[in-house]
Structure formats: structure tokens, C-alpha cells
Symmetry: D2
Subunit: 332 residues, 4 copies
């Protein structure tokens, strides 16, 4: 008899990936999965890749209280209400943005509405954060863009090797990052064969990225790419001092199971991380401008969402951090 | 200390998938992986998705003899020579075509060269085959097209519900099925955004499909599709009697862990099987022509190659058949 | 001052392609384009590829009466009402299914609702049809699947070389063929990386294909493919007599500007027809089954919709049939 | 009888697009097309999208001297030798890099070998360049990355609105930009479903971009994207003064037929430019960093190669600049 877990918001892409990871996790038992408009349907009617998983989606709120730990994979702004209905003893990992920010004003500016509060930030690779997560009952798992960019940037800023006030990021995401709602601009016909920037100049994840990475000024341009999964972030910053940026990263992540600084000269490819909880990194100095260039790749549904959440849950539950997670991508 | 396994031909796509599955298999220890032109390189230099796997590719022939079981993922025609060098006690699963056919003349006609021989055919879902595989030291794992089409067709022919002399198949494969050699027609620029039939009228896998499925006349048209993985076979046949084809399949596979006959009206999608060892099936009678239409989907590198091979190996080694294999696809 | 044309239903994919073709047509002047929910928007807000086309979409019904010829690119079932409002002297090319069928019962069975009537069928390559179109004021342009399959099949049946009672077709279409409505199953995340059959066993285009090709029994399985444009149809039939199917097709299309029977051994690829009004064909006899196999490729928005409609309009207006149309695809 | 043109290097992707554009150009007659290993083959055997174009590829050097104008679409480093064999009266447009740079040292550093020389730079939208091209017999047409980035950047630097010493670019290209040679890393299996950066920190096109745009320090990271055509460049720069960057661009390109500054808030998408000679631009100030962000999209084979070359040729031949070129993309 394993640890009892539940997923609220199981009909979206992150929810589906959570169900897949939980099904393959040796210590977790899925006791409930809830959804809004899909309540009452078998899981496999919503997620064809889970054919054989014998479970019916419940209505939001149903049966979550029986779980030892609940994953919330809800639309932004809905986590607080669901969390409030859970008994105090139930541990929670929120995959949404609601509890990530410390700065209520930033929440107001980018999301609007009431700031729900601040939970322990769920990125175990940040200094001190692994222990904090393990000691918490409420964790706000990091967002997909924030994970990709923070893992590339935070050690350089912490080491004094990169100027936190001069960071420029272009990050391209696969379409699952845009969610599963039926919108014309997300139709296959519109997306295949092309690249589309969006929310240029003011993306709502900038405050989270600054908070987590230590950057004080950051230009971020997000691009929608014709692939289902993956984020590739190109992070450039003005160097401070003369540290080799690759060595700074390699030292920071030497003991991390999920973050790989690739051999010198080998650059990350998103496809190599698909389906895994790995993040691949590489860095160099640009010959012409002298800027640091770090490229970071991960699976937005893996280390950027569901995998990250399971990693946090493992810590919160006292399990080995890597249980039920793979570092190896499904490629080609 | 687990069972010692090795992979010969580890630099191709099936080889890479084998390494990934072995790395996640709780009972198997990878002791060697060999390659031809990539010998001497770290595995991750050839398979970026396996960053973190600490192994150097050996030259073909090296160190395979230390293994309890060897997987051969070599180009067609090369398995016999490598197998001959292995001690009799080493079990072998061949992913190539060399030992699949019983009919030497068919080998000559489609492949040319000397027919290597006939090993136990590695498709456990065929009647009697599971026990035969478990009792064998040499198994010729089924091919990707043959697995997809045979699983759709064999129970219908065996039940007398489909005419074996009137079968028409169109099957589309993702590009990994075409292998990893550098050819202009396999370049992304040539493949993306289009569909291309190939080897129309005379595909070399037809004899294997007929042998395994019981069909006596079969028209098969293969199509290259712009996706990395997956095969979708549309199998039509003239019905005999009035059995419901979906019910025939559902009865045949009721106890199979990897073959799912989907709920009536739900049709297989290749993406739902990506990265898994599942095969999804659905069948109906065409309203206008009265023909049986079966659609079959699987991952050509999973149930069509590496997953299938591990399933056979599990049987040969006395392990539970599903060990280290997943029925859940990585989607979207 | 050119011939005045208008497009009703200009916000969909076929409508957008019509606008592009009209803009490049030396004899046609676009005087109006209408849409439903997008009325009032500039064309380029709906079709980014037409940036620079200075026209605002009107409401359906507006200004169409000023045109010499109107293209209807409306959802199925809406053409009759719009056509009824146009003066008798206005020529009409309907891209919808409403006026294609001669058999009202078939309309009822597959589409439901009132059968609108029967107009001249707009496939100029059928025997006698070119003159009929040129003499008509009302033309029902052929559908995308029907064009692809009929061009492959009709000459073989007409020549007595193929059995009209034993035809099996599998046809894969790009996503633009499924239209531009916001549906979850058409999202890029769902479509990329996979193949999905749909409407298996009873597709609504079967009656049109039988009517146009002469087939009397036809099994058709449609598949959605991860590409924006293109249809690839694999058409197999039992041969009658011993005519070479490729030669039958080559003779039938020797003088056709838009239908190319490729050199023996070269098989059609959808990408080669993208953006053009070309249809590529190839045929052979299957070695194992003896069946005729014809593969046909075209652009579902080109020869399968907007290009076909412009070809018909050219005939109706007394212009050279190829005016404003290209046989060369945009590839890679 | 039109103007006689020839294409050297017709078997590559840019060569194929040139043939397509010339075939649709009302004033140009194609008299010869040459290739290296494909010499002797019909054009359509190499470019299936040109089925129906009745021409056999000649060996390099053959028959070019009969032309009034020759397009060179050769691998870098080969143009000088071919140009030297042409009579002085033959006009030449070179699509390669050989004659673009004014700085021989930059050539040595990034390309190596002898610097061939410097021809008139073929980007008509640069101030004064249109007239220079019209007066030249030898023109070095701009490269695909340089066209995309220079059109975004040059007016801002020229207007004193952007700091030429602080430019950061991330630019993603479709696979046709990588050429048509058979390399494993360009296989569809490797490219589909992922993004891969390459030549990070030192791309050979940086000197051309700096020369053409006026930038004095430029960090450029190129990324390979899973689409056949298109470049999307995100160009950021520190602003000087308080000019609105979108207005600077709109003023600079107000009369340009091929460069469209989109309506405020609408961002370029590569797919909208496919098959056309258009470049789409948009700009804003990033809220957090204050940096200028310009996004530029074009078809790397169109305005980035063959379309650009035809535009130059039109100028050199005294034809209207837009003859035979379209501003409308083939989408979806």
C-alpha cells in the first residue's frame, strides 16, 4: 500500500503527464483525479495515451481529501480556493503560478486579482531550497519558463559572474506550454511550419524569473515553436570578472541528478529531454560581443511542470528525490 | 547484481531505444554496447537523450560474450556473423529480419544473399508463441510493420472472420523506421510538411506479414509520414461470416497487457503510443463496401522494435513479461 | 479594368487561398470578400500571409451583387441561401458540397437537411466536363478528397481496366482540410507527431467520389496527417484485363496542364504540390496481390479547393484555363 | 522573346526556388541550369515540385555564357571561379557569401581561404543601395540571416535610436537554410519535435550583419527549427533617445513594396511569409528592461535568397522591381 495521491485539474497536458508519472511511480497510488468539464469521463477518453488506466475523472473537489498529497494542475487563479478546502494534514504541490511570487504588486500587475499568498518555491536546485521543500507541506512548483531560465542563470549571478542588470532572453516553447484550450491560433494548421512570438515586451513570468534567478533587469521574448514539447532558452548576460561560465555551471550542478552541463562544445537540444525530468545546459562567451551565452533545454511538461512537481513531492514525502523520474529522454 | 545484457548495433535508433529501456529496467544490467563507425565514442555523443549514461561504445564483437543475453540491432544481413561468435549459452534477441522467415525463397526474392536460418518468431501475442519464446535461446523479434499489421489481422483470419486472400493494407511510418543513415530523401527539409509513399507494389516485409498473420494475398503500400515515431496501419479485408470484427479482436486480446482494443468508436492515434510498448486497435465494417477495416497503431521503436525485444527477453529470462515496459505513451 | 469577382466565406483556409490566387490573377479584380464573425476586420488580421492586401471583410451578403462572378467558400449547407440572393447574371462557383450530388438520398444520408440541388460538376479533367463547365453559370467545384481520388480512378474504370466494385482507398489529409474552427482535436499539440484516422467506415465524401469516378463499391479510410496542406490517396482496385494502369492514366492526361503522371518508378509526394494547382499520379501492379495501386497527391487548398475553383472560373469566363494558376509547388 | 537567364548550382534549395520564380516571371527565359553531381538529370528528378518543367541540368560551366544574366547559387567559395569564366557583358547575381564582405580579414577569420573580392551589396532597402544595384553588373545578394536582421536593425541605428554597440540577436531558421547535403544532424528524425542551437558564439554571418546594419558589437545565436522554411529573428538593442522604434521602422519602409511593418501589437510569424518575397516587422520597448525588441520574419529561400536575387536582377535589368515576385505567403 503506497502513499495516496490525487490530481486536481487532470484533463490538461500537465495533468496528463502527472497521471503518467504517478502510474509509473513505485511509491505513489493514485486515488483520485478531478476535472471540470470532463468530469465523469474515463481518463483514457481525455488522454488517449493512458489507455488501460482504469479511472474515471471526478468533479473538482471530489475525493481529494482522501489523499496524503494533492497535485494542483489548475488554471492560474484557481488554486487557493481548492487548497482552502483540503484538511491541514494534506500536503499540496501547486503547479500553477498562484503561490510563487513574494511580491503581491507583481502579481497584480501581470495577473490581476487577489494575490493568493506565497508558498515555498519548488525548484530544488536553488541553494537551500531542497531542504526548504522537504520541510514544507505547501510547495509552489516552479513554472516552465522560470525553470529553464533560472537553472541557466542563477549560478552565474550568485557567483558574481554575470551582471544581473543586463540579461536578455529569447525562449521558445512547444505548444503544450500554451495549454489545451481550443483557440484558433493554436490549431495545427496555424502552428506547423512556422514560429510565432507572443506577449513580446511584457510576459507574466518575468517577475518569477527575476525572483528565482536574481536578475534585476531582464528582457524576455517568448516564441511558440512547432513542436509539442520542449523549451529552449537562450540566455545572454554581460559578464562580470573572468570566470568561465561553463565552469561556474558545472560546479554548481556537479551533484545534481537532473541537471546536466553537457561536454564543452555540445549544445542542448530540446528533443533530447522529451518525456524526462532532465535539464541540459551549455555556455560560452560570444566572440564578437563578449557576452555570456547560456542555452538551456528541458521538457516543459517534465522538469518544467509534472516532473518537477513529482521531484518536489518526493522530497516532501521523504522519498529519494529521483524516485519514479527518468533523466533519459524519449528520442528521436 | 542483475542479469547481464549487451546491445550490438547501439548507434541506431532502435539501439538507442534499447539502451533507454535497459537503463530503466530493474532486472537488467547493461554491460556492453557496440557500434561500427561510432566505436570509441561515449553513448551520449551518439544519443543526446542519454546524457548521463556513463558508457563508451565498443567495437562490434567486443565484450558481448560477457553477457547473459545479447540484443542484436544490426543492419539486415549482419546478425548471423555476430551470432556465430557468441557462446552457445548466451541468449540472443535479434531485432533484424535475418532469422524471421521460414521460407528461404522469400528471403532470396526480397533481400538477396544467403538465408541465415529461422529462429523462434518473437511476437508473444500469437497463439502458442509466448511459450515458444520462453523456451528459446534464439528469438527473431518481429519487425515494426509486421507487428502492427499482424496484431490487427491474425485473430480475424484465425477465427475465420476475414478472407486471407483479399487483404489490402496502407501503412504509414514515422521517419525513425527508415533508419539513421544520411540520405537526402530523409532530410527534414524533404520530409516535413509532406507524405511520401515508397517501395510501392513490392515491400520486403510482405513475406513476414503473410507468414505471421496467415494472409495468403496482401497488397501493402508503405508511406513515410512527417513524424519521428509511430506506425498507423489501415488493414482492410473481405469479411467471412458475420462476426463483429471488433469483438473478435477484443476476445483475442482480453488478457494481453500490451494490446488494447479501444472502446467502440475510438480510433487509434500513433501519438498515444509514443515511447510505450502498447498497440492500439479498433475495427468496424465499412458501410459502403462491407469490408472489415482495422486500424492499428504502435511505436515503431517500442512495440515495433526495442520494446518488443525487451518483452521477448523478459520471457526468455523468466521475468514477468511487462518488467521495465510501459503501456502509457508520452503525449502530447 | 478586369473581371469583377467576390468571395463569400473569406475567413477560412480555402477563402484565404482564393484571395491569394485572385490577387495574383492578371484578369480578376477582387471587389468584395465577406465573412461571418470576422466581418469588419481587415483581411490581413484574419490572414497574416496577406499583409499588404488592402481590403476589409464585409458581412455575408454585402456587395456580392456587384461582382461578375462569386466564389462561395461557405460551410456545407449555406450555399443555397446565399446563391438565391444573387442576380441571375452573376456566375457562381461553389466550393462547398451543397450542389455536387445528383442523388438526393445520398445527401440525406450523409449530410442531412434539404438537398439544395445539382449544379454542373466542376472537375474539368473528366470527359466532357470541360465544355459543360464553360457553358455553365453555376458550377459545384469538386471536393478535395473527390478530386484526389477521382483523378486516380476515373480513367481506369472508364477504360475497363479496373473493377468498379472493388476499390479500397486510404487517403491522408493535411489539417487545413479539417477547417479553421477551434477544436481540441485539431490543436497543434494533438496533431503534431502523430497520425489519426477519422470517420472510418462512413465518410460523407464517398457518394461524391463514386458519382465522379464510376466506382460502385468503395471503402475509404481518411487519416489526419501532421502537415498543413496536402492529400495523399492510395487507391487500389482489382484489375480487369491486362492494361498497364500507368499507361491508361498517361494516355488520359497527356494533354492536361495540371495532371502529371510521373516518370515510371517515381511516386507522388504531397509536398511537391503545395501551393500549386497540380495533381501528381503514379500507378503500378502490386506484386503479391496483383491489385492496381495508384497514388495521387495534390494540395487540398489548391487543386482540391481554391485552385480548382479558379480553374473552373477561368473556363466559365472564357479565359485560358491556366490563367493565374501554377503547376509548380512551393517546396521544400 | 524575354531576357535570357541561367542558374548555376540549380540542385540545391535556393537553386530550386530560383527555377520556380524564373518559371513564373513574365520577362525572364530560363536558358540553362547547371549542377555538379546531378548534371544530366531532368530538373524534376531533383526538384519534384517542378514536375512539368522540361529542362535537363547541365554540368557546371555549360551554356552559362549564352545568358544575359546568371544567378550563382553555389557553395561558398565557388563563385569566383565560375564568375571568371563568364564574358564581361553577362550580368551576375551571386547568392553566396563570396563577394559580400568589404573586410578581407573578416573573410579569413570566418570562412578561410582567399577573399574573392567585394561586389555591390544586394539589399535594395538599404539607403542608396537600390540605385547602386541598378547601376551594377555584379551584385552580391544578401544572406538570409543578414537580410532578416539588417532589415530589423539598420533603420534604428541609422536614426540614432539604437545603440550599435549593444545588440543581442537570437535567430531561428528553417532547415532549408542548412542546405541539402546528407548529414545525420539534418535528418527528419533528428530535427522534428525539437530546437537545436548551432555555431553558438561565433557564427560566420556576423561580419556581414555588422557591415550591413551598422552594428559594432553583436551577439547572435542561431537555432535550427523544425520547419522547412522561414527565419524569425528577435533583435534587441539598447535604445538611444526616445524615438518609438516601431515608428522609426514604419517611416523607413513606408514606400517599400516587400517590407511590411505590421499594425501595432501584431507580431510577425514566419509561416505568413512562406513562398513570398515579403519581410514582416514589428517593434516595441520591453517593459522590464527598457530594451528595444524588434522581431523580423521572412522566407529564407524567398527574401532571404532566391526572391532577393530576383529583386536585384529586376533592378539590374531595368524591370519594375516587383516583377515576378509576390508579397503574399502560401499559408497555412
Amino acid at each position: 500500500m503506497g502513499i495516496r495521491v490525487a490530481v486536481a485539474g487532470a484533463s490538461g497536458y500537465a495533468g496528463g503527464e502527472l497521471l503518467r508519472l504517478i502510474a509509473g511511480h513505485p511509491e505513489l497510488d493514485l486515488v483520485a483525479a478531478t476535472a471540470h468539464s470532463s468530469a465523469g469521463k474515463p481518463v483514457s477518453a481525455v488522454h488517449p495515451q493512458l489507455a488501460g488506466l482504469d479511472l474515471v475523472l471526478g468533479g473538482t473537489g471530489a475525493a481529494l481529501t482522501d489523499a496524503d498529497l494533492v497535485f494542483l494542475a489548475l488554471p492560474h487563479g484557481q488554486s487557493a480556493a481548492v487548497a482552502a478546502q483540503l484538511p491541514g494534514g494534506v500536503k499540496i504541490v501547486d503547479l500553477g503560478a498562484d503561490f510563487r511570487l513574494r511580491d503581491a504588486a507583481a502579481w497584480d500587475r501581470y495577473y490581476g486579482g487577489t494575490h493568493a499568498g506565497t508558498w515555498t518555491y519548488g525548484l530544488p536546485e536553488l541553494p537551500g531550497q531542497r531542504a526548504a521543500i522537504a520541510a514544507s507541506d505547501r510547495v509552489a512548483s516552479t513554472g516552465c519558463y522560470a525553470a529553464t531560465i533560472t537553472l541557466a542563470l542563477a549560478p552565474l549571478i550568485a557567483a558574481g559572474a554575470a551582471d544581473p542588470a543586463d540579461v536578455v532572453v529569447v525562449a521558445a516553447s512547444g505548444t503544450s506550454g500554451a495549454g489545451r484550450s481550443a483557440k484558433v491560433n493554436l490549431l495545427a494548421s496555424e502552428v506547423m511550419g512556422g514560429l510565432s512570438p507572443y506577449k513580446v515586451g511584457a510576459h507574466q513570468h518575468v517577475p518569477e524569473i527575476k525572483q528565482a534567478s536574481g536578475a534585476t533587469s531582464l528582457s524576455m521574448t517568448p516564441v511558440l515553436a512547432p513542436m509539442p514539447r520542449g523549451i529552449l532558452a537562450t540566455v545572454t548576460a554581460r559578464p562580470l570578472g573572468d570566470a568561465d561560465p561553463r565552469e561556474v555551471l558545472a560546479a554548481a550542478y556537479a551533484d545534481e541528478p537532473f541537471v546536466h552541463v553537457l561536454p564543452a562544445g555540445v549544445w542542448p537540444r530540446t528533443a533530447a529531454t522529451a518525456g524526462s525530468n532532465a535539464c541540459h545546459l551549455q555556455a560560452t562567451l560570444d566572440v564578437d560581443s563578449g557576452r555570456i551565452v547560456v542555452v538551456s533545454a528541458l521538457d516543459n511538461l517534465g522538469k518544467g511542470a509534472a516532473g518537477q512537481a513529482v521531484q518536489c513531492a518526493n522530497l516532501m514525502l521523504g522519498l529519494p528525490e529521483t524516485t519514479g523520474l527518468s533523466v533519459f529522454g524519449v528520442a528521436p
